[in-house]
């Protein structure tokens, strides 16, 4: 079944989503990957606040290709989320409600997701040209010097994802594989 959800995620959406659900997301998401995460967390330790308000927001782990002339953004598929695991629990603590990426999360992140009621979505790794079509606007909002790794504010429309980890501890990576192992 395919669900359509408008961001920001509401409490009811978060509870209703189950691992394995196909979802089309619309609204605003922020991009951040390795370098942006590292800088946010390191600067916070020095007393510098996060450059964006993350409460109730969704982060998309992506480093797009440069946009061709006339395009909103280049190809923009998900990168491996596990590299952000070290920094994620802190972001969930301040109210991050969703993440879009690909690949396994650490036990620590999964626990923090249940605790703070957040969902991990997977976009199809490598479907970057297709995904770019659902990105309607893109604007750099922080760390411009990081190039492809800068923080961008994206407006998305019917952005295709699957729920990987839900707030109830469901995990499609575990459940799906168990189903088809022979």
């Amino acid at each position: 079944m395919q669900k359509k959800i408008n961001l920001p995620l509401q409490e009811a959406d978060l509870i209703a989503l189950k691992a394995g659900d196909r979802v089309l997301l619309s609204g605003v998401v922020y991009t951040a990957r390795d370098a942006a995460h590292k800088r946010m967390i390191e600067q916070e330790k020095e007393g510098i606040p996060f450059p964006i308000d993350l409460s109730n927001q969704v982060i998309y782990y992506v480093g797009p290709t440069p946009a061709k002339p006339g395009k909103v953004i280049g190809s923009a598929g998900p990168t491996t989320s596990g590299r952000m695991d070290l920094y994620t629990p802190r972001l969930l603590e301040v109210g991050l409600k969703g993440m879009i990426g690909k690949g396994y999360r650490s036990e620590e992140v999964k626990k923090a997701m249940i605790k703070h009621k957040a969902v991990y979505f997977g976009a199809v790794g490598g479907a970057a040209a297709l995904i770019a079509r659902s990105i309607k606007s893109s604007e750099i909002v922080a760390y411009e010097d990081l190039g492809t790794e800068a923080i961008r504010k994206l407006t998305i429309e019917d952005f295709p994802v699957f729920v990987i980890n839900d707030v109830h501890g469901g995990d499609i990576y575990k459940e799906g594989v168990a189903l088809y192992k022979s």
């Binding site: 394995g20 196909r22 370098a35 992506v62 480093g63 797009p64 290709t65 440069p66 946009a67 061709k68 395009k71 280049g74 190809s75 923009a76 598929g77 990168t79 491996t80 596990g82 690909k102 690949g103 396994y104 997977g122 199809v124 790794g125 490598g126 479907a127 970057a128 040209a129 297709l130 995904i131 770019a132 079509r133 190039g147 492809t148 295709p160 699957f162 990987i164 499609i172 990576y173 459940e175 799906g176 594989v177 168990a178 189903l179 088809y180 192992k181 022979s182």
Partner: protein, 281 residues
Amino acid sequence: MKMIHYEHIVEQVAEMCKKSNYNLGEDVYSAFKLALQTEQSEIGKEVITQLIENADIAKTEQVPMCQDTGTAVFIVEVGQDCHIVGGSLVQAINEGVKKGYGEGYLRNSIIYNPLNRKNTGDNTPAIVHLELVEGDSITIHMTAKGGGAENMSELKMLKPSDGIEGVKKYILSIVKEAGPNACPPLVVGVGIGGNFERCAYLAKKSLFRPLGIRHEDPVVAELEKELMTEINRLGIGPQGMGGSTTALDVKVEVESCHIAALPVAVNLNCHASRHQTISLN
């Protein structure tokens, strides 16, 4: 003696970089179509459908199929009777990469130094493997190798007593551990033998063989088939969400080695298996 010009190599390499990232090879595309027929999971089918659509969009719009446009890796067969004029071969390749990645709106993903992590800004240096061959032409094989799958690759010096069963077990363990991270469905490249560095190279080289083509040695070809079946039984499936298509193909290269050794390298490639080959003569 055949003369091959620096500028000619630059131009050709630039085109290869663009084409490999925009146009998914027919071999991979056919493997997607086949997988769509055989995949058992609904989620898996949806993933493959998206991948086919993605490949179509990339080709029509001439945009990169994946945002990770890779490390540019080359295997160059240099004829010992040819002569390159106007500059060095490796320089020409790097110049071509710089041009192709720039003009092609491809992402620059290479950093100067793994410890300070500053981007070089033009996706160079490329990784260039030279092989000296007979004749007077140059054949350039190129791949844009994604980081996600490369990161889940591994090499191990097994014990000779581990035997073929040990080799298989090790390969399966790597695919299993990679799970969704390497963007399955995968192409699994395996090197067996050589020594430490040669084994890794064999695994990488195996990935240059088109999908659907088995090794010419029937024994190795049989091993590829067996591994393919066993990998697809793991249940990992497209994007690791469960299914019957974990690998689109398995490639194995085998070479002689020391009596004390059994090196095995597993170089994973994602479904964005981007290869180009050209001959300059």
